[in-house]
């Protein structure tokens, strides 16, 4: 069914042509260039600057996750000076613990999971933003380099108490001075 079999070449060109206006052709080119630049920019941020989204880390059984292991005693632990880890349980309708206290300029790895419904974990004014899904562990590593209070808020609907579900990261000048802003 080739279109060339019975037509002169110029008719063929006309047949294949989409009749695109030259301005529009340039607009399409410009759009592609713009999108490529933007995409390159976000790729750099994500994969070489380390502003990365959460990936597939670990799975747990939400029915028994709080019975044993680190999730049985959620909270913050110091691994070595300047390096902390926190296990946080998001459940209806509170975070356990409600408070994470760490010294400024220390790196913290936060693991969050849920034994019941889906929740969210977003720390205000930081790039920490994760869904919390039963059966999955959401993990992020972040360095708090400013003293202050950073609320963490549940941002997924989880029932009538959702609006009360929040906690706070307190970044202090050194541990021991808990509560000092």
């Amino acid at each position: 069914m080739s279109s060339g079999e019975d037509g002169a070449p110029d008719q063929l060109v006309e047949h294949l042509s989409m009749g695109i206006d030259p301005y529009e052709k340039n607009w399409m080119r410009a759009s592609i260039i713009l999108l490529v630049i933007f995409f390159a920019t976000v790729t750099v941020a994500g994969f070489s600057m380390g502003i990365q989204v959460v990936g597939a880390d670990a799975e747990v059984d939400p029915r028994i996750v709080t019975d044993s292991g680190p999730w049985a005693e959620p909270g913050v632990r110091m691994i070595r000076p300047g390096e902390y880890e926190a296990y946080v349980i998001a459940q209806t309708w509170a975070f356990v613990p409600r408070e994470i206290v760490i010294p400024v300029n220390s790196e913290i790895t936060i693991h969050v999971t849920s034994p019941d419904l889906q929740h969210g974990f977003k720390v205000t004014d930081t790039n920490i933003n994760m869904m919390v899904v039963p059966g999955q562990v959401s993990t992020v590593t972040y360095t708090f380099d400013e003293i202050g209070e950073f609320p963490y808020i549940c941002h997924e609907y989880c029932g009538r108490g959702h609006v009360t579900m929040a906690g706070v990261v307190k970044v202090v000048s050194s541990v021991g001075e808990e509560g000092t802003p």
Binding site: S17, G46, P62, R63, M131, V133, C154, H162
Partner: protein
């Protein structure tokens, strides 16, 4: 030029799809039934929205609704389901039935099939509505497990989707019948565009169909005890993002294929209009992971690939921006418009149908900018699940789509009912109030999101709200109030229009169908053929979703039972 072979000359076939065919009374009634359900759903759902916005500044009116609506979240579920799912789906299917018949210049080939589809949707709607109204499905329109709604909610939604499939088959069969009778003729754009959308919808809804039939329905019936919430999210967003294009493409049909005529012009490029629609068929679906950037359980590589594909689905919208604006400029200049932008004043701004759609398109430009931001991989960390997101989709589905549909209904309802629009001035004010209300509302929501305010939260009750949010929360309420006035005006215009006397046929609005500047016959055949595009869509889907989906299904862990008691 000489006429070769059998096909009729252009003068013979043009009138059949350029406005010649008048729908029969039963056909008009059939389309009208869709619009009736859609508009009733919009009215009820839109009464809930402003209540949420008032709550943000501490004015909680929910206690006054107590006998009917028990909570903020029951209201929010109604708002989301009725506005985002029911109003859109019923309007779209009805409008596609209309553009199929009007565009192809013939009746539906299997009208009873389409009627069956419609009534399936209606039964589904009733089944969905009952549990929502009795507060046993307060799960919002995303119904993420293990929030467990009544089985009737899931079955009802399934029937709505299945009904829309059946209607879609009716449209395909009609197109096929038309093609048999019109070999070598390019299918009319308004019909083809709607039917491409129906095809995309069939592919897209497979995700939510599998989610409900293999997990949520058996679980809500007690046949299985647990769910896999992450797998459910992947299924849901398989459908959830193309849903956005399912809403949008009928508005594009109007912007490309009708609005140019309404402003006295022509479609600037038939080829590119079709190319954009085919691209939407291919790239609308394999982009769902961009809703799951912050999900655990999905590897970063797949998220990144879907970000790339989401960028590519932005491209046909960029084409649309050019083609639609150029079509408008062409019309405006024909009507005496001059200057670099002065021609804009020569557009018929006093026609409420035109004004509504132009304003919708302006808001959509900002919706597009926000959408590209959402899709930009790490940038999603700044705004995911914040108030930014509802701010964004109120510019898209609640403006580009809803305000366009309102604009369409300003000629379509009079056409179908044999009447004239009641008080075009009121309709015009309605369009502008929607525009202004939405600017105030959505701008405040975007800012709140950047400041860290969560979505889906009655912020009026939140203890973590800092001082600096208050002004924006108030603006959300003000925008919501203006939108409430606007939607009531829309309801009044529709009801009053239907209560006026029927008028003589020549006084009834005609259907605006824009001719392309360059004849559609010159559009290449590959832009009028389903097969290659469907194959491409299937292949891309397999590559972009296949491995991760298989992995998640293979490693499915049905282990999340949800809380012991109803959480709402």
């Amino acid at each position: 030029m000489s006429v070769v072979d059998r096909p009729p000359s252009s003068s013979e076939y043009e009138p059949r799809f350029a406005g010649g065919y008048d729908l029969t009374r039963p056909e008009k009634r059939f389309v009208g039934q869709h619009l009736f359900v859609a508009i009733v759903a919009l009215m009820i759902g839109s009464l809930m929205g402003p209540l949420q916005s008032f709550q943000f500044s501490g004015v909680d009116l929910y206690p006054y609704l107590d006998p009917i609506i028990k909570s903020y979240y029951q209201g929010l579920t109604l708002h989301g389901v009725l506005n985002a799912l029911i109003w859109t789906t019923f309007f779209i299917v009805g409008f596609t039935a209309f553009t199929t018949m009007k565009g192809l210049g013939r009746s539906l080939s299997h009208p009873r099939l389409n009627q069956f589809g419609f009534w399936t949707m209606v039964v589904g709607l009733v089944m969905t509505a009952i549990p929502i109204l009795t507060n046993s499905a307060t799960v919002l329109y995303t119904f993420y497990p293990p929030l467990k709604a009544s089985w009737a909610f899931y079955l009802g939604l399934t029937l709505v989707v299945v009904g829309s499939w059946i209607e879609g088959w009716g449209f395909f069969l009609t197109l096929r019948a038309w093609r048999k009778d019109n070999r070598g003729v390019r299918s009319p754009f308004i019909a083809l565009g709607g039917i491409i959308n129906a095809a995309m919808w069939q592919i897209a809804t497979l995700g939510v169909a599998v989610e409900i039939l293999t997990m949520l329905l058996p679980w809500s019936l007690g046949l299985i005890d647990n769910t896999d919430p992450e797998l459910a999210r992947t299924y849901f967003w398989f459908t959830g993002h193309p849903l956005v294009y399912f809403w949008l493409l009928p508005a594009y049909v109007s912007w490309y294929g009708m609005l140019p005529k309404q402003v006295g012009g022509k479609l600037f490029s038939d080829s590119l209009a079709r190319l954009a629609f085919w691209m939407f068929l291919i790239v609308s679906v394999p982009v769902g992971f961009h809703h799951q950037f912050t999900d655990p359980g999905v590897p970063q590589t797949w998220k990144w690939i879907h970000a790339l594909l989401t960028y590519s689905v932005f491209f046909p919208s960029m084409i649309t921006a050019f083609t639609v604006i150029a079509s408008l400029e062409y019309g405006a200049r024909k009507n005496g418009g001059t200057g670099l932008i002065g021609w804009i004043r020569a557009l018929p701004w006093l026609d409420p149908s035109v004004a509504a759609q132009l304003l919708a398109a302006i808001l959509f430009m900002f919706g597009g900018i926000g959408g590209l931001t959402n899709a930009s991989y790490s940038l999603n960390l700044v705004i995911h699940n914040t108030a930014w997101v509802p701010g964004h989709f109120h510019l898209t589905v609640a403006s580009a789509v809803t305000l366009s549909f309102m604009g369409i209904s300003y000629w379509l309802v009079p056409y179908l009912s044999g009447r004239q629009l009641w008080s075009p001035k009121t309709a015009l004010v309605q369009a502008w109030t929607w525009f202004v209300g939405m600017i105030i509302f959505s701008n405040a929501m975007h800012v709140l999101g950047l400041l860290g305010a969560p979505r889906r939260t009655p912020l009026g009750d939140a203890t973590y709200v800092p001082e600096e949010w208050n002004g924006h929360l108030l603006r959300v309420s003000i925008g919501g109030g203006i939108l409430l006035v606007s939607v009531i005006m829309y309801g009044v215009v529709m009801v009053k229009t239907m209560r006026t006397e029927r008028v003589a046929a020549e006084l009834v609005p005609t259907v605006p169908i824009a001719e392309p500047i360059r004849s559609a016959q010159l559009t290449p055949v590959w832009l009028d053929t389903f097969k290659p595009w469907l194959i491409a869509a299937a292949l891309l889907l397999l590559i972009a979703y296949g491995p991760q989906l298989v992995d998640q299904i293979w490693n499915m862990n049905l282990n999340a039972p949800g809380p012991d008691s109803t959480p709402w």
